[in-house]
Symmetry: C2
Subunit: 198 residues, 2 copies
């Protein structure tokens, strides 16, 4: 985090230049490492959920006097609105992570006065909103899959699609860590801007 401020009387012009560069650069090395981590997390979350599919057989009783037929059934991420939103949201957050990481690295390398601190902090805040909403939706769908809802006569399905549910849990857990990383990035931005304002 940059905390450099203009020291009056101590090479004023250079100090001013450094302070302007610091104000433009979004969070430095810690921010870049966190952004790369969030990129990896949301990428893996989107891929794990996007490839989540399980075909299994369930017994189906046609005539009570005969043994049940074994019917093949498939669970797929695209069968749920929540999981579709999850894949799209994590893919978009992953792209944003890459772009914001690139912008941060270019600002560091070129030492130009690009005031990226505010747009990147607001971008990170949008990612917090998007990720928390998709995690909420996916967790609700996951819980219904695990426990069902007896009041609405929605049966649980994770007893049939065990592996599908396990992979979905892994994807949601990864995305949740990604959401916490973006939460941390916004907190760091707030603290960094506050330190500079002192």
């Amino acid at each position: 985090m940059e905390t450099s401020r203009v020291k009056p009387g101590l090479n004023g012009v250079e100090g001013q230049k450094e302070a302007t560069q610091a104000a433009g650069k979004p969070l430095g090395l810690v921010g870049e490492a966190l952004r790369a981590f969030a990129l990896a997390l949301t990428l893996v979350a989107a891929v794990v959920m996007g490839l989540d599919k399980q075909t299994t057989t369930v017994p189906f009783q046609v005539v009570p006097t005969l043994p049940p037929l074994q019917v093949a059934v498939t669970a797929k991420w695209s069968h749920s609105s929540a999981f579709k939103y999850f894949v799209v949201a994590n893919a978009l957050v992953c792209i944003y992570s890459a772009l914001s990481l690139l912008a941060s690295l270019l600002t560091s390398a070129r030492k130009k006065n690009l005031s990226l601190a505010v747009p990147i902090a607001i971008g990170d805040l949008i990612m917090v909103a998007v990720l928390f909403s998709t995690i909420g939706a996916s967790m609700d769908f996951g819980l219904l899959g695990m426990h069902g809802n007896s009041h609405l006569r929605w049966n649980k399905v994770c007893n049939v699609y065990g592996k599908f549910c396990e992979k979905a849990i892994v994807a949601i857990a990864l995305s949740s860590i990604g959401a916490l990383v973006f939460f941390g990035l916004v907190v760091l931005s707030i603290i960094s801007l506050h330190k500079r304002s002192k």
Copy 2:
């Protein structure tokens, strides 16, 4: 929003005092108005959802040759994990809105140097995360209620519990505006802190 900064040479001590007060006061009148608005929105959202209940009758076929029996069924917010989380989350956000509004008003009234800008910005950020996650969960549950999920044989229920679903939609819409208000408060904090750091 406060943008006052120390003007060197122009009554330095007073200027420093004003700037310190400005840095401690979280967003001024706009912030206080938004906080009061968020308080009202989340309060009404929690109450509308918390009182949401509908009893109706559905036909139930016992014997194929006889006319169906009319059975009373009830939909209630507490039958869903998502809606339970919604009520608790909106109630907590409502309490936070009241406390942060009080803190902001007291800071303004006493003109004390209480540096509340950072803790309140982080508090607002937590509210963004909480509200967006509960809206995601409730919208997923609401969509399943409206359309069902044919792949999992979960039938839609909003054709039976129409009024219940309508009230839930109103509550979710109010809470969504509340979430956007907190999003706006965090954006204002970031911009305000950035202006002071210039």
